[in-house]
C-alpha cells in the first residue's frame, strides 16, 4: 500500500468531466511524475489532493487516512507540502522569516498564541531555519526582502519552506514553469539533491519532459481526466498510447 492513494475520484465542473474515475497509488520514497496534455486534469488532481477542491465521488487517502474534505492547513499538518506553479512566498518578509514561519507551524501546530516570546530568541527555530537556507544556498540573503528575489531563488525559498517542515509528501505543480534554462537546471539539481539527502516522496506535475526524465522514478500519463499509462520513464518513452494521447489530443 502506497503513501498516497487516489481511489475512484471523479470531479466535474459544470458539464466538463475534469477527473474521470482516477486511481493512483504512490509508493513511499519515490518521485512520481504526472504528465499529460493541457486539460488532462493534472492540476485538478493536485488540487483534490491538497484539499483545495472536493471530489464529487471517491477518496484520497494519505497513509490510510482520508484527505478529502479536510482544509489545506489540516492536510499540511498531516505532512503534505505543496509547491505552486508561481512560487507562493511571503513577499513582504525577509527570507529568514519566510522559513521561520513553517518551522513554527510544525512545532506549534495550526494555532498557538505566542505573543510574548521573541522570534529571534528562539534559538532552535532560528538555527533550523538558517540551516535550511544554507542547504538551498540562500543563507547569504537571509535578511533580504524575499519579494525582490529572482524567480529561481523564489522557487528555492519555497522549497526550503516546504523542506523545513520535513513533510512526508511534497506535491509540485510545474516547478520549473516560466523559468530560464539555467534556473530550470538549477532547480532540477536542487530537487535531485533533496531526493538524495531527504528522500521525501514527491508528486510532480510537469510539462517539461527534460525535468520528468531527470527526476522521476515513475510516470503516470493522463489524458482527458483519466490515467492511461503508468510505468518507469523508459517504459513510457516508447509507449504508442502516450504519443497517441499527445498527438491525438492535438488533433481533437
Amino acid at each position: 500500500m502506497g503513501i498516497l492513494q487516489v481511489q475512484n475520484v471523479n470531479k466535474s465542473f459544470g458539464g466538463l468531466k475534469a477527473l474521470n474515475n482516477v486511481n493512483l497509488d504512490i509508493t513511499e520514497g519515490t518521485v512520481h511524475a504526472v504528465i499529460g496534455p493541457n486539460g488532462a486534469g493534472k492540476s485538478t488532481l493536485l488540487n483534490v489532493c491538497v484539499g483545495r477542491l472536493v471530489p464529487d465521488t471517491g477518496a484520497v487517502l494519505f497513509n490510510g487516512r482520508p484527505l478529502t474534505g479536510r482544509s489545506p492547513h489540516e492536510i499540511n499538518q498531516m505532512g503534505v507540502a505543496r509547491v505552486f506553479q508561481t512560487p507562493e512566498i511571503f513577499a513582504d518578509l525577509s527570507l529568514l522569516e519566510n522559513v521561520v514561519i513553517p518551522t513554527l507551524a510544525v512545532r506549534d501546530g495550526s494555532f498557538t498564541v505566542n505573543a510574548w516570546g521573541r522570534v529571534d530568541n528562539q534559538a532552535e527555530i532560528r538555527d533550523r531555519a538558517e540551516a535550511i537556507l544554507e542547504s538551498v544556498g540562500l543563507a547569504e540573503k537571509r535578511h533580504h526582502h524575499s519579494g525582490n528575489l529572482s524567480r529561481g531563488d523564489k522557487r528555492r525559498l519555497e522549497l526550503a519552506m516546504c523542506l523545513v517542515q520535513e513533510p512526508k509528501l511534497v506535491l509540485l505543480d510545474e516547478p520549473t514553469a516560466g523559468m530560464s534554462r539555467a534556473d530550470t537546471n538549477a532547480t532540477i539539481d536542487l530537487l535531485a539533491r533533496m531526493q538524495e539527502e531527504h528522500g521525501v516522496t514527491k508528486i510532480i506535475i510537469e510539462h517539461d519532459m527534460h525535468v520528468v526524465f531527470s527526476l522521476a522514478d515513475r510516470v503516470t500519463v493522463m489524458a482527458q481526466g483519466t490515467p492511461i499509462v503508468e510505468g518507469t520513464p523508459n517504459e513510457i518513452k516508447g509507449d504508442p498510447r502516450v504519443q497517441e494521447a499527445y498527438l491525438g489530443g492535438a488533433h481533437l
Partner: protein, 387 residues
Amino acid sequence: MTTPLATARSDLILFGAFTLAVLTMPIWLVPLGAGYPDLMQKFAIYGLFAIGFNILFGLTGYLSFGHAAFLGVGSYTAVWSFKLLGMNPVPALLLAILLSGLFAWVIGFVSLRRTGIYFSILTLAFAQMCYNLAYSVLTPITNGETGLRVLNSDPRALDHLTGQGVVDGPLVSNIFGLEMNGLPGFYFCAVWLLIGMYVSIRIFRSPFGLMLRAIKTNQTRLNYTGISTRPYALTAFVISGMYAGLAGALLCVTDPLAGAERMQWTASGEVVLMTILGGAGTLLGPVIGAGLIKYSENIFSAFHEQTLHDIFGFLPDGVEGVVVSVAGLFVGEGWHLTLGLLFMVIVIFLPGGLTSGVRQLVQMARRSSGGSGRSGGDAGTAPQAAE
C-alpha cells in the same frame, strides 16, 4: 543588527526613548502651543487607540471600519462602572477592556468569515448597528442623545464603602483622592499608553506577530504551511478591540461622559487615518499619526474669522477678504473638510505614511551623499529600521 541580543536591545532603546518623550510631553509641547493637559490626554488616548488598530490593520491588513464601536463600548462600560462601583478608574478600565474584548470577539467571529472589502463592510455594518441601537432601544443604558453621565444619586458602592460617597461639586474620577484631570489625568493616560506600547512591541516581535504579518502578505501560503489563519486574525481583532475599549474608557476617566457620537463611522475613519498617516505596520507611526491629527484638529478648529484676519492682516484689504473667506472653509467648523482632504492627499501621495516618507528621504539623502558600498545591506536593514 542581526544577532538576537542587538535587536532586543534596539527595541529597548526605542521603548526607552518613547517613554522619555511621553513623560516629558508637558515640557516639550509647550513651545508648540500644545502643552496643556486636556490636549495631551487626547494625544495619549488616541495614540493608544491607534496602536491597537495598528495591531489589526498594520499587521494583518484587515481594514476594519467599525473600531469606533469598541471605543463606545469602552466608554459606556467605564461610566457604568463609575455609576455602580465608584469613581476609581481601575475597575472601570478593566471592565471596559473585558467587555470590549467580548464585543470584538462576537463581531470579529462573524466579520472574519470574509476577507477584503467584505470584511470592511461587515465591520462598518456592525458599528452602525451599535450606533443605531445606542440612539434608540438601548437608551436606558446609553441615555441616548443626552449622553451618559455619573450622578450624585448613583449607587457608587465602593465610594460609599470608603466614605467618599458624598461629594460636593462635579464627580471626577480619582484614585484615592487624586483627581484624574489636569496633569495627573495625563500621566495616568500616559502610563497606559506606555503599557500599550510595550505590549505592542512584544507582539510585533513575537511568533504571533510574525504570523499576523504573514496573513497580510500571503494567506494562501500560510494555509498551505499548516496555519489556520482565522483564529490568528480573530485574536488580533480582539486585542485591537480591547485597546479601543481601553481608550474609550480613558476618555471617560478624564471626562466622565459617554455619548453615542463616539461610535459614528467618522470616528472609525479617523483612527484609520491616524494609522496610515503615521505609517501602518510600524511601531511608532500610529502614535505619531494620532498626535498629528489631534494636534491639527485642535489648531484648526480653534481658528475663527478673527484669528484669520489677524494672520492675513498684512495682505491688502481686498485680497485679505478673499483669502480669509477661503481659509475660513477649512478651519473651525470646516475642520472635517481639511480632514477629508488630508485623507485623500495621504492615500494618493504617501500610502506608506510619514514613516515610509521619512525613510525614503533618508535613503535619497544617503544615496546622494556618495552612496557607500553597503547598498546591498540596505534591503536587509530597512524593514527593521522602520519598526
